[in-house]
């Protein structure tokens, strides 16, 4: 216990210097000379990269018809359950940095045909868009699978990540996923190999 406490109180920078030595060995092995340092230029480069990557708002609107004997309330409760499960199962929760995805349930909307629609809006901010993409895709795929039991249903989605915007209206989850995937698969090639 005391050893742990002592360890917590020590600032041990040895790994920083190990990283420096490792970098120097790598440069030597690759025959690269250490570049001149310009911290301000490095900051500008980082800021440019951040701008290119961008942060994105993710907002998904789900409209599910509540066909009797289901009520709007019971459909909304199931939607909430499904969303929470799928956010966790897709790993999306690990990217939200403490954010709770906002689940907003509007009142049931009566349609002309007299069928109530349960409307749910899921919203959160993605801070690292490229790394978020695999989780977002998994989220949409899992959601599509889970919602198959609740047909008919449509998805309206407004997704903004970086400079890219996708608007989807009145599509099935499968079609929505197809559109989003096509829109993003080129844009979201990871910049680095992980």
């Amino acid at each position: 216990m005391n050893a742990k406490r002592d360890q917590d109180n020590v600032i041990d920078d040895s790994r920083l210097w190990q990283a420096v030595e490792r970098a120097r060995e790598k440069r030597k092995a690759l025959g690269i000379e250490a570049p001149t340092t310009d911290l301000i230029a490095a900051i500008r480069k980082w800021e440019e990269k951040e701008t290119a990557m961008g942060e994105g708002n993710f907002e998904l609107k789900l409209e599910v018809e509540a066909i009797p004997p289901n009520t709007v309330d019971s459909v909304q409760a199931r939607l909430k359950e499904v969303i929470e499960e799928v956010v966790a199962a897709s790993g999306l929760d690990t990217l939200l940095r403490g954010q709770k995805p906002q689940l907003v349930f509007a009142q049931g909307l009566p349609t002309k045909e007299g069928v109530d629609i349960a409307l749910m809006v899921l919203a959160f901010v993605l801070h690292e868009a490229p790394t978020a993409w695999p989780h977002l895709k998994a989220f949409l795929e899992l959601l599509g699978t889970r919602l198959k039991k609740a047909t008919p249903r449509t998805i309206n989605a407004d997704i903004t990540i970086g400079k890219k915007k996708v608007h989807i209206k009145g599509m099935t989850p499968e079609d929505a996923i197809k559109v989003i995937t096509e829109e993003y698969e080129v844009y979201f090639q990871p910049r680095r190999k992980g």
Binding site: I11, D13, A23, D38, H127
Partner: protein, 204 residues
């Protein structure tokens, strides 16, 4: 000088400002002489290849003055700040140096430094490496605790990538790795020279 400190400045050092309220510039003029003195002590024997990290505790006195207390000498790559401050002072954070036997300077925070800053909940953490001064500032977006091991591993991965794939120097790679981790862990980052005039680089 302390008496002339504005309420907002006091609130800043007390860690009461939100990220959006953090100042663009911070002036540490009151403590730069001591910071520079500790840097000189850190590299006193560098000619024979010996360096020693030095640390001190940054405190805010009851009259609003900023000062460095509890100077301690550490080893070549580690130091244990003495965080025991008097009841009449507010602990703001810690300061320490980053010397290296071959004379490398300009090295920002290590992964361990960032983990320490988060886990201790310090308002401001300072590092001086030669003429460069770096500061981490806690915000409402900073988590209460992190795993040092995880943070050090993240640091290594990012640093190696910046060195090899972006062909950055060691100092540049450390700096942008710091920025990545500040973004990930909701810390603000300031950069300045040994005159104590720091400017914000990143606010979460």
């Amino acid at each position: 000088m302390g008496e002339r400190r504005t309420r907002k400045e006091v609130a800043f050092y007390e860690g009461k400002l939100k990220s959006s309220e953090l100042p663009e510039k911070v002036n540490l003029a009151e403590v730069t002489a001591e910071m520079n003195d500790l840097w000189e002590k850190s590299v006193l024997n560098i000619k024979v290849g010996e360096v020693r990290e030095h640390a001190a505790t940054l405190v805010l006195g009851s009259n609003g003055s900023l000062r460095l207390d509890n100077v301690v000498e550490g080893g070549p790559s580690s130091v244990t700040p003495d965080r025991d401050v008097g009841a009449d002072r507010t602990l703001v954070g810690t300061f320490h140096t980053h010397p290296y036997p071959d004379g490398t300077t300009g090295m920002a925070f290590s992964g361990a430094d960032i983990a320490y800053a988060i886990n201790k909940g310090d308002t401001m953490t300072l590092v001086q490496s030669g003429q460069d001064t770096f500061a981490l500032v806690h915000t409402e977006k900073t988590p209460a605790s992190v795993s040092r091991a995880v943070l050090e591993a993240e640091f290594d991965v990012l640093f190696d990538e910046y060195v090899i794939e972006d062909a950055m120097s060691d100092q540049e790679a450390a700096l942008v790795t710091n920025l990545d981790l500040c973004k990930r862990y909701g810390l603000a980052f300031y950069l300045g020279k040994s005159d104590g005039k720091l400017e914000v680089v990143y606010k979460p």
